[in-house]
Structure formats: structure tokens, C-alpha cells
Amino acid sequence: MAEAAVQTRVAGARVRSRMRRRRSPLGVTGRYALLVGIALVYVFPFVVSLANSFKTDQDAANNPVSLVPKTFTTAAYQRLFQSDLPLWLTNTVIVTVLVTAGRVLFDSMAGYALSRLPFRGRNAVFAGLVAVMAVPGVVLLIPKFLVIKQLGIYDTYPGMILPMLADAAGVFIMRNFFESVSPSVEEAARIDGAGVFRRFWSVVLPMSRSALITLFILSFQASWNELPQMIVSTQSPRLFTLTKGTAQLASGALSAGSQFPIKLAAATLMTIPVAVLFFVFQRRMMNTTGGATKE
């Protein structure tokens, strides 16, 4: 038995070393060239955007390829900050904070109930969530507007925020998470006489940090980048978010091509928070594999 195991291991090592040698049909250099080449293509648009946002309108129109501004200027950023950008930023922050908080709380509560609390109608609720997830978001543009208008919350913060406060996919993530962890600690708390809410708040949530962070990242990114919901729930410039404001900026002088630095500056600015979040949590965001990617 032990001998067989050793033999397998030796054979495995031999194969692995053979694989290492014949790993790639391209060879190591070819593989790296490909990896770097593709990476450049993926990064290039962002670099171009950043570089051109510091150019003058004239310079950006005449030298669109150059990554070094002829005369370095922050004029585009200054103009943005003197105009409505601070307002857009405020609105986006309000929406993002409330939506993210709401989703993290409500989705984890519902996910917990669907996994742990056996209540009558649970299966029906679950089936309903699956059905809701299957509805394509864009199909709901007009319908959402109709309800928002009917409820009298059109062109208000509640109209922008309430419809995004929960999402079926988030509930799903949390439910799957709770399904994957053992309920033994909660059981101990239950025996100690802790009620459902106390168990959830003081025992379950602290244990669910990793899933909550995932949910936080997804919610933050989704609400920060949301455009269609803002289009159908508001019209007054007072309520423009970064996405809607920048979208309006982009379609303003489409063909002129001379105002690009200010548009690119807005695009760059709205990318920064998501980029920061991405770099802080990049391991978690890209760790779909549960630790198999350790380097």
C-alpha cells in the first residue's frame, strides 16, 4: 500500500518534470511575449486616457498617440471641478454608500434566512429569486420608470436609491456561502439561548467576513458604475451622478473632437475609486479558485 503510494508519487514527479519541459508549444519567451503584448493592449486605453487628460485640447487633437503632453496642463481637471463635477461626485457617493450598505445588510439577511431558517414558503421565495435573476436588466428600464413615477419618487434620491437596495444575485452569493459553512457555532449559540437576530448579528455576521467583503466589492462597483437606473429615475441636473454627468459630457460635442481632455479627465476621475478598491482587494476579487492561485 505504502509502496504503491510512493511509486505513484515518483511517477507523478517524473511526469511533472516532463510537463515542465514540454509545457508550452510556444516556449517561455513566446509565452511571455504574448502575455506582455496582450497586457499592453489591455492597459493602453487607460494610459492614453490619463495622458491626454493632461493635454491642451489642441495637443490632444493633433497628437492623439503621444503619451507625453507637449505642455502639461491640469486645465481639464480645473474646469471639471469648477463646473458640476463636485455635485456629481457627491450624488454618486450618496448613492454608493447607501446602496452598498443596504445590499450588504439585506442580501445577507435574506441569504441567511434562505439557508438556515426553515420557514413556510421558503422554497417559493427561492424559486421567485431565481426567476427574478433571469429577467434581463435592460428590459426593466421602462417598467422601473413607471413604478418610480407612480410612487411619486421620480427625480428624488429615494427614486435613485430604493430600486437598487437589494439584488437577487447578492442574496444568492450569501445563501451559497451559508450553505458552505457548518452551522455548529450557531447551534452552540442557540443552545446558549441566543435569539435569531442576536445569533445573526453577533455570531453569523462576524464569521462571514469573506463573503461580506465580496458582496461589498460587488455592490460598490455596481452602484458606482450604474447608469441606466439613473437615466430612468431622474432628469434634473441637480441629481446627476458621475456616470450620467460624464455621459452628458461625452455626447455634448461628439464630432468636434476638440474637447477630449475634459471628457477623458472625467473618465479618469470616475475610474480611480474603483481602481483603488480593485487593487486593495485584487486577490479576493480574482480569487475564484479558493487558494489555488498562491504564488
Binding site: R22, P25, R31, Y32, L35, A39, Y42, P45, V48, S49, N52, N62, P64, G102, A110, Y112, A113, L117, P118, L129, V132, V135, V138, V139, L140, L141, I142, P143, V147, I148, Q150, L162, P163, L165, A168, G195, V196, F197, R198, W201, I231, L242, T246, A247, L249, A250, S251, G257, A266, A267, T268, M270, V274, A275, F278, M286, T288, T289, T293, E295
Partner: protein, 361 residues
């Protein structure tokens, strides 16, 4: 917050206290708590997802013009008139809708296969343990997390008449097209280059057959490239997760049998990835039929409606033209198209995999 919760726990569950002692019961404290815990999500989704669909279903068979409530007595039931205007009655509404379907169909046809192939390639490339693996993954995934608005703005600059792409084409001695002004399809442009011109003739949904095969306009091509750029990172992660679940032993066994890298990929890896490919293609189909943000930001359907999509048309018919019934009808037809494609694709990919069960999502 904590005290509120604790107090709530105390009050709501007082009558059911004895039930808990007997363990979890459907009617006990957990039963009440189950509904309380799911209530916020149910209220929000019910109010902003289920109810809207019901309201829109009514609007799609009504004459509502956007003024007042769609349920007021002046709004009339018009039956299938809105649907007929789009599908059966020749006219502007029909040809606009046909155009939007044509545009989006080309988009789907080109984006889905390419993004699937590119994401698989990226996943295979970054799956091996190599120096800088994390940095490469980051670079490929980053476009997927950035806002569609920001990326559209950047691509508008790259592909503007005096933009980066045309400047590079210029260096190479060519002349770039007016990406956002050229209204002919790329297939049409290629055909014209060899002397074939548009024949007259009848067609389908207000477009001639030639219009249908004329291909995406250069502007649509920009959106196609952009979609591949922004989605391949996400799908790369899905493939990567699947690749790492393929046991190393299987690959090793194939090596023992003397299979080279290409053979291993085609005959071992790819078949094992079929469930993942199914997921990626399904998500791709669902996503690509919903092209909206980029059009809203980038082109508003122009030039000459060549980037009009059903999703954008549904929006513009309602919010700009006040033809709410027609806009809602387009949304429902789009929904049907997405369901149809998902089902068709399911049938097509299921057929050849009778043995393997899905082992992971």
C-alpha cells in the same frame, strides 16, 4: 443598531420562545424570523422588479403617451397594435426595429465567439505558474471592473476621426475610416471594393435582404471591440476557476500517453471545460442582446441608426418620442429574444454532452 436588533429579537420572538427549545420549527420563532429576514429583499424586488413588469405589460397594450397615470381612464386598450406596428406593419416603426435587430444581431454574432475564445486564451495563459502571473491577471481583468461610461468615453477618443487609432493607421500608410460617420456596413464596404453593389429587392422587417447582410457599421465595430475588451476579463476568471478544478492527474495521464500540448488542450482540457463554455456563452448571449449604456453614451444610435439597438430603441421610443406602448412592446420582444437564444443554445450545447454532469458552476 445592535441594540435595536437585540430589542427587536426580544419583542418579536417572545411568544415563540418555547418553540425554539424544541429545535427549529417551521411555525416557531425561525418561521417568523425567516419572513422578517427576507422581507426587505422581497419588498424591494417585488416593488421594483415584479410590479414593474406587470405595469409594463399593460402599457405595451395601451395607448399611453407618458402624460398622467397609465391607469387613468383616458388611456385606451389597443390590443396588439404596438406589437403589430413593430413586427407586421410596414413603416418607420418597423424599419427602425428591424434595423436595431440587424445591428444587435451582428454585435452578438461577432462578440460572443470572439470574447469566449479570447477569455479562454487568457485563462490558459495565466493559469500556469509563471512570474508576474498576478500582474497579468490584473491587467486583463481591470477593464471589466471599470465603468462602461468611462470606457466608452476613452474609446470615443481612440476612434475619433483625428484619434489614436486613425493616427496609427496613418503611420502605417493607410487611411482610417470615419469610425463614427461611415454609415455603410463593413461587409458592404468590402463588397463595394470588389465592385458588388446593393441590389434592390424585398426583405424582412422593413429592411432589404442586402441591408441584413451588409454587416456592422464601423461605429458598431468599435462597440464590438470594446465589448470584447471589457468582458473577456470576467470570463477569463470563470474559465480560470474551471481550469484549476481539472485535476492535474488527468493532464498527467495524457502526458503519460504521449499527448503533446495541443492534443492535450483539444482532446482533454477543452472537452472538460464544456460546462464552463456553456456558462460563458449563455452569459455572453444574455449580455450582448442588452447593449444600452455604450450606445447611450457613445452614439445615441447614430450614424444613420447603424448603432441603434433594441434596448436603446425601447428607451428612445419611450423617453424621447413618448411612444411608451411601443417602447414597452420592444422591451418584451427583446425579453423573448433573449429567452429564445438561451433555450436554443442550451439545446445546441446539451446535445453533445449526454455523459458529463456539471460539477461546478
Amino acid at each position: 443598531m445592535e441594540t435595536v436588533m437585540a430589542r427587536a429579537a426580544g419583542t418579536t420572538s417572545a411568544p415563540a420562545r418555547s418553540a425554539t427549545r424544541r429545535g427549529p420549527g417551521i411555525r416557531g420563532r425561525d418561521g417568523v424570523a425567516g419572513w422578517l429576514f427576507t422581507a426587505p429583499v422581497l419588498v424591494i424586488l417585488g416593488l421594483f422588479l415584479v410590479l414593474p413588469i406587470a405595469m409594463a405589460a399593460w402599457v405595451s397594450v395601451s395607448s399611453w403617451s407618458g402624460l398622467g397615470s397609465p391607469f387613468s381612464s383616458t388611456v385606451k386598450f389597443v390590443g396588439g397594435a404596438n406589437y403589430a406596428a413593430l413586427l407586421a406593419k410596414p413603416g418607420l416603426a418597423q424599419s427602425d426595429f428591424g434595423t436595431s435587430l440587424r445591428n444587435n444581431a451582428w454585435y452578438v454574432l461577432l462578440v460572443v465567439p470572439v470574447q469566449t475564445a479570447v477569455s479562454l486564451l487568457l485563462a490558459v495563459l495565466v493559469n500556469r505558474r509563471i512570474a508576474g502571473q498576478g500582474a497579468f491577471r490584473t491587467a486583463y481583468y481591470f477593464p471589466s471592473v471599470t465603468s462602461s461610461v468611462a470606457i466608452t468615453v476613452i474609446f470615443l477618443f481612440l476612434f475619433s476621426a483625428s484619434g489614436t487609432v486613425n493616427a496609427v493607421i496613418g503611420w502605417l500608410g493607410g487611411t482610417g475610416p470615419g469610425w463614427f460617420t461611415e454609415t455603410r456596413g463593413v461587409v458592404q464596404l468590402l463588397l463595394q471594393a470588389v465592385g458588388v453593389h446593393a441590389p434592390a429587392g424585398n426583405g424582412f422587417l422593413g429592411l432589404t435582404w442586402f441591408d441584413w447582410v451588409a454587416g456592422p457599421s464601423p461605429a458598431m465595430l468599435v462597440f464590438i471591440v470594446m465589448a470584447i475588451f471589457t468582458t473577456s476579463g470576467t470570463f477569463m476568471l470563470i474559465y480560470l476557476a474551471a481550469l484549476q478544478q481539472i485535476a492535474e492527474e488527468i493532464d498527467e495521464a495524457a502526458v503519460m500517453d504521449g499527448a503533446g500540448p495541443w492534443k492535450r488542450f483539444w482532446y482533454v482540457t477543452l472537452p472538460m471545460l464544456r460546462p464552463t463554455t456553456f456558462t460563458v456563452v449563455t452569459l455572453g448571449l444574455i449580455g450582448t442582446w442588452q447593449l444600452f449604456d455604450q450606445i447611450y453614451v457613445g452614439s445615441k444610435g447614430g450614424p444613420a441608426n447603424t448603432t441603434l439597438t433594441p434596448a436603446y430603441l425601447s428607451y428612445s421610443q419611450s423617453f424621447i418620442n413618448n411612444a411608451w406602448g411601443r417602447g414597452a412592446a420592444i422591451a418584451f420582444i427583446l425579453f423573448a429574444i433573449i429567452v429564445l437564444f438561451t433555450v436554443l443554445q442550451r439545446l445546441a450545447l446539451r446535445e453533445r454532452t449526454p455523459r458529463r454532469r456539471r460539477s461546478h458552476g
